[in-house]
């Protein structure tokens, strides 16, 4: 029997009532639980933003780092100890803006990190400025007359960069989100989960998303074809959620690292060198 309180924290989330991030938190807890993870086996790494307050609201190891930098911290953790399940969780500003390059390169390296981007098309914590996913014309504190900047399209970008698991979910459907996260946890390598998670304070798109979203699987979509994935992502008439693309053919970066270091992982090897090795090292340049 799974203890539903296994991942409960004693700390109340400080998000605004109704914030989409509550749904993501619930889905993540549920997915970890259903995936049979124990709290000490999991590290949740975040950046800075409303969404990045996640660690501490979920009882696992946590690292609440810098704006835009959850990915490299997560990668460092995973490289040091690949036995840990490492989840990165942050906002659209964090991951598609200032920290996007880390995501792109994690995608191409296929780092074994599960990234959940709580996409609300706004900078929430800094009180509502334009984010990279904000829309043309969107009025924010930094675009009082409406944005003049085209939004980023994170999913095709990451697919183009070589992403091996690219999905979208909606915090209005935490059950579906949990299922997608469970798949991501099983995935061999990097998983990007774009989680539409509306900001009820600065840019409330709940009703709109509720009207427009549909599940890919409901339309018989199979996430095994790159070309089709591009098409599905670019649907101008609705908001598809689900897994757009997935391949288990590529080894994760950490698998490949293990081939080089022989499975001698840094956390287990905090020791001096054997004497035999030392002598030859000393004379290497002589």
């Amino acid at each position: 029997m799974l203890d539903p309180k296994l991942f409960e924290s004693d700390t109340r989330a400080d998000w605004c009532p109704g914030c989409g991030d509550f749904g993501v938190l619930a889905a993540l807890k549920d997915a970890l639980l259903k995936s049979g993870k124990q709290p000490h086996e999991v590290v949740v790494v975040s950046g800075i933003g409303c969404s990045s307050n996640m660690p501490g609201y979920i009882r696992t190891y946590g690292f609440h780092g810098l704006h835009g930098r959850p990915m490299p911290v997560a990668i460092g953790i995973k490289c040091a100890n690949p036995r840990l399940t490492v989840v990165a969780a942050a906002g659209d500003g964090d991951e598609y803006g200032i920290g996007f390059n880390h995501v792109v390169h994690a995608a191409r390296r296929n780092d074994d990190i599960k990234l959940i981007v709580m996409n609300n098309e706004i900078y929430g914590l800094t009180t509502g400025q334009l984010s990279p996913t904000s829309r043309l014309g969107q009025k924010t504190k930094t675009s009082p007359e409406g944005s003049i900047i085209y939004p980023i399209k994170p999913l095709p970008t990451i697919l183009g960069a070589g992403g091996t698991f690219v999905a979208r979910t909606f915090s209005g459907d935490p059950k579906h989100m949990s299922l997608v996260i469970q798949e991501a946890l099983k995935h061999r390598g990097f998983a990007l989960i774009d989680a539409i998670s509306p900001c009820v304070t600065w840019h409330n798109i709940y009703d709109e998303v509720k009207k427009l979203f549909y599940k890919l699987e409901d339309r018989g979509y199979k996430p095994d074809d790159e070309q089709k994935a591009y098409e599905a992502m670019n649907d101008p008439n609705g908001i598809p959620i689900g897994i757009f693309y997935r391949t288990e053919d590529k080894a994760s970066f950490q698998e490949r690292l293990g081939e080089v270091n022989g499975g001698r992982w840094p956390v287990d090897e905090v020791k001096t060198l054997p004497e035999s090795v030392c002598r030859s090292l000393a004379l290497e340049f002589a």
Binding site: M71, G76, C79, H105, V267, T272, L283, F285
Partner: protein
């Protein structure tokens, strides 16, 4: 008027264009002499381009400890005219120039310098289609000129080309032999030292030494983005990854490097990274992250001449101010600046123990002169080392847990909190860059500024900062070189100790009363002790490689002691002993004039 070469010492310089194999030729000279039982220091006069321009390699060898480039040139091997023109004026009388008259004109040869013309190109072309082998021919000639057994060179060549086609190695040996013979048959050696071929001396750069020290201290995670002159460290790590079981993460930029290093250290690894100034700028924010989350990391900065891109292959000690002001607001850090390769090895070990004991970032400052540009002999490399991980718990003690969370940031009497490695059952905690309480709960949101939490914030800041007080007790006092109570005291930090030592040795020969105080532990300064020591010095000369005298300013700031005189160099070149000597001599005049 040329100087006389120093008894018992050899200074050799080989120069040509980039791509002509000068670095490997220079390293072979180094190896030959180091396998002949001499102490070695080298310097690499590099440029920031891949082919062309002018580069040179300098070897200083002696029967006793060498520290820097020594005095003048006993041997110059100019493979291009530019190499001759650039360096011939440094030739010592009693030395020689080894060159190919078909490509180099040895004009205005200083008095007392032997003209050893050798048909380098002609010989080389007898053994290969391309003239690259003239380096080897010149090495042969050099060995004859300094009276080293040819076998030593033959072995060095074999080791160097061992991995390639065997004929490459054999042809090179043959070419070298011809060069050797040309000089040998002509005359006795120009300058012969006593050689002991029985035990080769370990030689390495500070970059390599710190890599070995780190790995021996238990560091198995290394992250990097290449940047001169720090790149040799990642090259070494990558080359040893399989053999030593290293995990090397080649990141997309230095921001990623530093954050990954913090992540690995948080996860319980001993983790290090290295860069040069420009890359370090990008690491600063994450250094603050390490400090705020009390995650122990070791970061190496191999300084080069700036500001900005500056002179990537030239040397400087200009990054100290940056280290004193890393990122924003106050947080503890340790800054160490080993003087040479040997000390770098031990510094890596100390750095990790300090970092983990106090849960602070430790920064090691090297510079191009010793970090990439200069090898030196490492007398003692003792791999025996006790790893001290500080307060690492595998289960919570009483009061360490509240049923949900481990009290990772507990306020303790020594200001160091217990740590746990993620993966340990029941010890979950959150490391936060926001201000946090003892449990790692956020103090920047619902608690910020409340009557009860402002004092806690104050105590958390004090907890972090007060660790510096304890660390001061672990900081080494400056090492005294030379007799105590001298008239003039040279103040150095890190690598500026090296030319100063050779100058002081020379000044002592000249009867000058001079010594040096060499700092290798830079921050936090143990102010009381350092002030006491500085006050014992009479005329104090600051010697460092930057414009503003950054270290002297730190001393002024933290001890109130001011320097009497400055030798500041910032043309990209390392300090030569002669420059220190001249500066001290000019001061002595002043000192005497006053006395």
């Amino acid at each position: 008027m040329p100087h006389q070469g120093k008894e018992g010492e050899l200074t050799i310089r080989i120069g040509a264009a980039a791509g002509d194999g000068i670095q490997s030729a220079g390293e072979m000279i180094m190896r030959v002499l180091s396998r002949s039982g001499l102490w070695i220091t080298t310097y690499n006069g590099n440029q920031s381009l891949i082919r062309g321009g002018h580069v040179w390699f300098h070897v200083h060898a002696a029967a006793w400890k060498t520290y820097s480039m020594g005095y003048g040139l006993d041997f110059l091997i100019p493979l291009t005219q530019l190499a001759y023109d650039q360096h011939y004026e440094r030739l010592n009388s009693g030395g020689a120039v080894i060159y190919d008259p078909s490509s180099v004109k040895a004009h205005d040869l200083p008095a007392g310098v032997r003209d050893l013309s050798v048909p380098l190109g002609e010989v080389a072309l007898r053994h290969d289609r391309r003239p690259i082998m003239r380096n080897t021919v010149a090495l042969g000639a050099l060995c004859a000129a300094v009276g080293v057994d040819f076998d030593v060179l033959a072995k060095v060549i074999a080791d160097q080309f061992g991995r390639k086609d065997r004929s490459v190695s054999e042809n090179n040996v043959k070419a070298a032999q011809e060069g050797y013979d040309v000089v040998r048959q002509g005359a006795p050696p120009v300058r012969q030292l006593k050689y002991d071929y029985s035990s080769p001396k370990p030689v390495m750069t500070a970059g390599y030494a710190i890599s070995m020290g780190a790995v021996n201290a238990g560091c198995r995670f290394y992250s990097a983005y290449p940047m001169s002159p720090a790149s040799p460290i990642v090259h070494w790590m990558a080359a040893h990854a399989r053999k030593l079981g290293l995990t090397v993460f080649l990141a997309e930029d230095e921001i990623s490097v530093m954050n990954a290093t913090v992540g690995a250290a948080y996860a319980g690894a001993r983790a290090m990274c290295a860069t040069s100034g420009g890359g370090f700028s990008l690491m600063q924010e994450a250094l603050g992250e390490a400090a705020m989350t009390e995650t122990p990391v070791v970061v190496v900065d191999v300084m080069r001449a700036g500001p900005s891109t500056g002179l990537p292959t030239k040397t400087s000690q200009g990054d100290l101010n940056m280290m004193l002001g890393i990122s924003h607001d106050d947080f503890p850090r340790v800054i160490l600046a080993p003087r040479n390769a040997e000390e770098s090895f031990y510094t890596a070990e100390r750095a990790f123990n300090l970092a983990e004991t106090y849960q602070v970032p430790v920064i090691v400052l090297l510079d191009y002169a010793i970090g990439d540009g200069g090898y030196s002999t490492v007398e003692n490399l003792d791999f025996d080392f006790r790893i001290d991980r500080g307060k690492m718990l595998s289960a919570p003690g009483p009061g360490d847990h509240n049923g949900f969370w481990f009290r990772r940031f507990a306020l303790t009497s020594d200001n160091v909190s217990p740590r746990a490695v993620p993966g340990t059952p029941g010890m979950m905690f959150v490391a936060k860059t926001d201000e946090h309480d003892e449990w790692g709960h956020d103090m920047s949101d619902v608690l910020a500024g409340l009557n009860e939490s402002a004092p806690l914030r104050e105590r958390m800041q004090e907890k972090r900062m007060k660790k510096l007080e304890a660390i001061k007790g672990e900081m080494k006092a400056p090492e005294l070189f030379g007799p105590s109570g001298a008239d003039i005291t040279v103040i150095t930090w890190g690598s500026s100790a090296n030319p100063s030592r050779e100058a002081i040795r020379e000044l002592h020969r000249k009867g000058v009363s001079v010594n040096a105080l060499e700092f290798s532990d830079i921050f936090p300064l143990n102010e009381v002790e350092v002030t006491r020591i500085l006050r014992t010095a009479r005329t104090k000369v600051d010697v460092e490689v930057n414009y503003t005298g950054q270290f002297a300013k730190l001393l002024a700031r933290d001890t109130g002691v001011e320097m009497d005189s400055y030798l500041l160099k910032y043309d990209g070149e390392p300090i030569y002993p002669i420059e220190v000597e001249k500066h001290v001599l000019s001061l002595r005049k002043e000192v005497h004039a006053v006395a």
